[in-house]
């Protein structure tokens, strides 16, 4: 079976771990538990009649306390760039991370997932910025680890992009 490594990147508390748990175990918890270090999960998926084993690297959110180690992206076929729709700064962080990945690793497939769509009333992100990124060729999906909205679709879209 084809195996693909996917890294989860984004600012802290955007919901990377929650998205993985929703995707792999169909579980969600409202309690925020910060990730220290790296957690690795696996899930087999079928995309366009192809069986793929996804190895999901849930990497801690970079901030002043934990700096990103770019060696974790070695061998990655793609990455999910996660932002929190209720925190504008997390989208700016995602934009910075994408640039950094290009510099450190090169161009690899990615999907921008704007998480917490269940909190759309508190949404801070401007749709104009989303449009601009889409114009630049970014694949952007909205998701909610809480409701499951857009979660499968995000991983499926990335898998398709990785399979080329």
């Amino acid at each position: 079976m084809l195996q693909k490594k996917i890294c989860m990147l984004g600012a802290f508390a955007v919901g990377k771990t929650s998205l993985v748990r929703r995707f792999v175990e169909s579980i969600y918890s409202d309690v925020y538990q910060t990730t220290v270090g790296v957690k690795i999960d696996k899930k087999n998926v079928q995309v366009d009649d192809k069986e793929v084993s996804l190895v999901l690297w849930d990497i801690y959110g970079e901030d002043d306390y934990q700096k990103m180690r770019w060696t974790y992206l070695r061998g990655a076929s793609g990455y999910l760039l996660v932002a929190d729709g209720t925190r504008k700064a997390t989208l700016e962080k995602a934009v910075n991370l994408e640039q950094k990945v290009r510099e450190e690793v090169g161009v690899i497939p990615f999907v921008l997932v704007i998480n917490k769509s269940d909190l759309i009333r508190d949404w801070e992100l401007d749709s104009a910025l989303e449009s601009q990124l889409a114009v630049q060729g970014w694949s952007i999906l909205r998701s909610s680890a809480k409701t499951g909205e857009g979660v499968e679709e995000s991983f499926a879209l990335l898998t398709r992009k990785m399979l080329g």
Binding site: T34, I40, A89, D126, L129
Partner: protein
């Protein structure tokens, strides 16, 4: 137990798994393996052959690349992984760290589970990140709280001011005992409401100050242009996405400094709100321009868009109202521009918008220029204790000449009524600009200025008055009436030039107490005859003005003396009949007439009446007419004298009344 056995078990006892590197990804244990290792990889732990660790753990597979580099380059820097988390078959998460090293020349991989250290690190990070998230949440809440605070202190306090003054006025009327009882009940209830509003205000203001260290502390300043540029950088991609150009006006010198009394993050939010508003209404391919201007004590920023201009059905001040949003391409909640207004006003500035002549609209705000500040202010102007109230009630009332400015008509009318009943002479103004004009047109002991007025705020009027007064021995006594009564507000108002701050809603005894401390320039009885400027130019000057034609001057004087009483009567009638257009027209004509004779004081009063007529606000007109008549009477007296002399020295009013004009006598002969 021999030493070999001890050494064999020592690593396990310490929690280490020591494995010798054999070939790529395969390892052999060189000591007993710890329990956590067996829990994670039981097959590997129980087997006798090499352990394919890279297959067991994707993280180790990745780490091997670094480890092999280390083993292949002896002497290079230590090779150690960060912590990663492996999950056991039972689902338990076990933190692991790896280190590549050499032992007795052998390539060794040491694995360790830093369980307690990991939990400690996680706890610390969890606390730190929770605090950061709380801080972000709190910052968002601040805006909502500020809006609520403003609603409480302004929107709820305003009607309460009217209630207080109305009930005070009523209590001085002759009413039945039963009515007095009802009145007492009403007063009691409104007092209760006032207390509650103050408590809420205090709670919120303390809360705001304590929650985030972003208040407008004395001396705090930010650079207007720098904040604009930072916001432009943040919003640049959004503008690009819509195809709207964003630029600083070419008229702004890039290296110049624009320090204003404001807090930087909130100033940036103001720019952000105004720019987002401009973007909403600007079509693709057009431009949004930011500019700054120097207005002396104030610095002004503006944002010009090339959209459709302001909506026709809204006045500019309504656009900054709470929950006000456009019908098309509107904002989310109608809070953005409202936030801008309340924030700018709390910093002592003002905000507005206009439709530009050619295309689009301009949103602007002005803030006080940041300067060195000094002078501590009282923590609260309020003192509701009984003794204080009694002291206030007993304060003797001295007649004063008072300029009263408030944009709320009912407060203006009732307060003016009460002040007049107490023997003061009162001139009212309906907004800040009106107040400033009135200040320049006459002499006052006291100006009582509402803080939040359209056009010019009370702060701005106070600054303008203090600037105009520079060098004067007896400056006017300035009193701010405001719903914002925190210590910070009082400090800001006093910095603007106010002598006292009167919290709204106010009671008459509070106002009387403050007025009792106002210095009186002259007794009111003498104010009417204060010589502000000469009643007219001299006869010789007038003759010179018309090219030496003395006869022409006399004809002009004759016409003026004949027509002016009719014009004054017409003005009085226009005021009485509430005919603003008629008032403006007649005052304009009279202004022209008195200007011919160089009667500056009369011209100012006529101009004031003309402006009142144009504005439609006639409540202050009777007082201005009184002053105009006084000035006209002085002018008439002079002109009658001129008509009798060639050229004549201006005579006093009394002389002119007693002595019959010579010319008239000659004509009779």
């Amino acid at each position: 137990m021999n030493m070999d056995h001890l050494l064999q078990n020592f690593p396990m006892e310490m929690g280490f798994a020591l494995l010798e590197y054999r070939s790529r990804g395969d390892f052999l244990p060189i000591a007993e393996l710890p329990n956590w290792f067996a829990e994670l990889w039981p097959d590997a732990a129980n087997g006798s052959g090499p352990i394919p660790l890279s297959q067991q753990s994707p993280f180790l597979e990745n780490f091997m690349l670094e480890a092999e580099d280390f083993w292949n380059s002896p002497g290079s820097a230590a090779c150690q992984s960060e912590t990663w988390v492996e999950k056991s078959i039972s689902g338990r998460e076990i933190p692991v760290q790896a280190r590549a090293l050499f032992l007795s020349g052998k390539r060794i991989l040491a694995l360790f589970s830093p369980d307690s250290q990991f939990r400690e690190q996680m706890k610390m990070l969890q606390t730190a990140r929770n605090a950061l998230l709380d801080h972000e949440r709190l910052a968002r809440e601040i805006q909502k709280k500020e809006i609520l605070l403003h609603c409480i202190v302004h929107d709820l306090s305003q009607p309460l001011s009217v209630m207080h003054v109305a009930m005070d006025s009523l209590s001085e009327e002759s009413i039945s005992e039963r009515s007095k009882q009802y009145l007492t009940l009403g007063k009691h209830a409104s007092n209760q409401q006032e207390t509650m509003i103050r408590q809420i205000l205090q709670t919120f203001s303390d809360d705001l100050r304590a929650s985030l260290d972003v208040g407008t502390e004395a001396g705090e300043s930010a650079d207007l242009l720098e904040c604009a540029r930072k916001t432009m950088t943040l919003l640049g991609p959004t503008f690009e996405a819509k195809g709207v150009r964003l630029a600083v006006s070419a008229t702004v010198a890039p290296e110049s400094k624009w320090p204003v009394a404001a807090e930087q993050s909130r100033l940036q939010r103001i720019f952000s709100n105004l720019l987002e508003n401009a973007l909403r209404y600007t079509p693709a391919g057009r431009r949004v321009t930011i500019g700054v201007e120097d207005e002396g004590d104030f610095l002004k920023a503006y944002i010009d868009d090339e959209g459709p201009g302001l909506p026709h059905d809204l006045r500019p001040e309504q656009i900054f109202g709470l929950f006000m949003k456009g019908k098309q391409s509107g904002g989310k909640a109608g809070l953005g521009l409202y936030f801008c207004r309340i924030t700018v006003e709390r910093w002592g500035g003002s905000i507005g918008c206009v439709t530009l002549p050619e295309k689009g609209s301009r949103f602007w705000f002005r803030l006080p220029r940041a300067t060195a500040r000094g002078g501590e202010r009282p923590s609260d102007t309020r003192d509701s204790s009984d003794s204080a109230t009694a002291k206030r009630k007993s304060a003797p009332i001295r007649p004063l000449r008072i300029l009263l400015a408030d944009d709320q008509e009912d407060i203006r009318t009732l307060t003016a009524h009460q002040l007049k009943r107490n023997g003061h002479k009162v001139v009212v103004a309906k907004d800040g600009a009106h107040a400033l004009r009135t200040f320049h047109a006459a002499s006052f002991d006291v100006a009582l200025l509402d803080q939040e007025m359209p056009g010019m705020t009370g702060d701005e009027v106070a600054r303008a008055i203090r600037k105009a007064e520079q060098g004067k021995k007896k400056p006017i006594f300035l009193v701010a009436s405001t719903g914002n009564t925190t210590a910070e507000d009082a400090r800001r108002l006093k910095q603007a030039g106010f002598d006292e701050v009167l919290g709204k809603p106010f009671r008459l005894e509070d106002l009387n107490h403050i007025l009792s401390s106002a210095p009186v320039a002259k007794p009111v009885s003498q104010l009417a005859s204060l010589p502000s400027s000469p009643p007219s130019a001299s006869f010789a000057e007038l003759v010179a003005r018309v090219g030496g034609d003395e006869k022409l001057v006399k004809r002009m004087i004759h016409t003026f003396l004949r027509d002016t009483p009719k014009r004054l009567a017409g003005i009085a009638a226009a005021i009485r009949r509430k005919n603003p257009e008629g008032l403006a027209s007649l005052a304009h004509a009279l202004k022209g007439s008195v200007s011919i004779f160089g009667a500056e004081a009369a011209r100012i009063q006529a101009h004031e009446l003309q402006e009142l007529g144009r504005s439609g606000e006639l409540s202050g007109a009777p007082d201005v007419l009184v002053r105009l008549k006084e000035e006209i009477a002085k002018l008439q007296a002079n002109l009658r004298g001129y008509a009798n002399q060639t050229p004549a020295r201006p005579k006093s009013k009394r002389d002119n009344r007693r002595r019959p004009p010579r010319n008239r006598g000659k004509r009779r002969r």
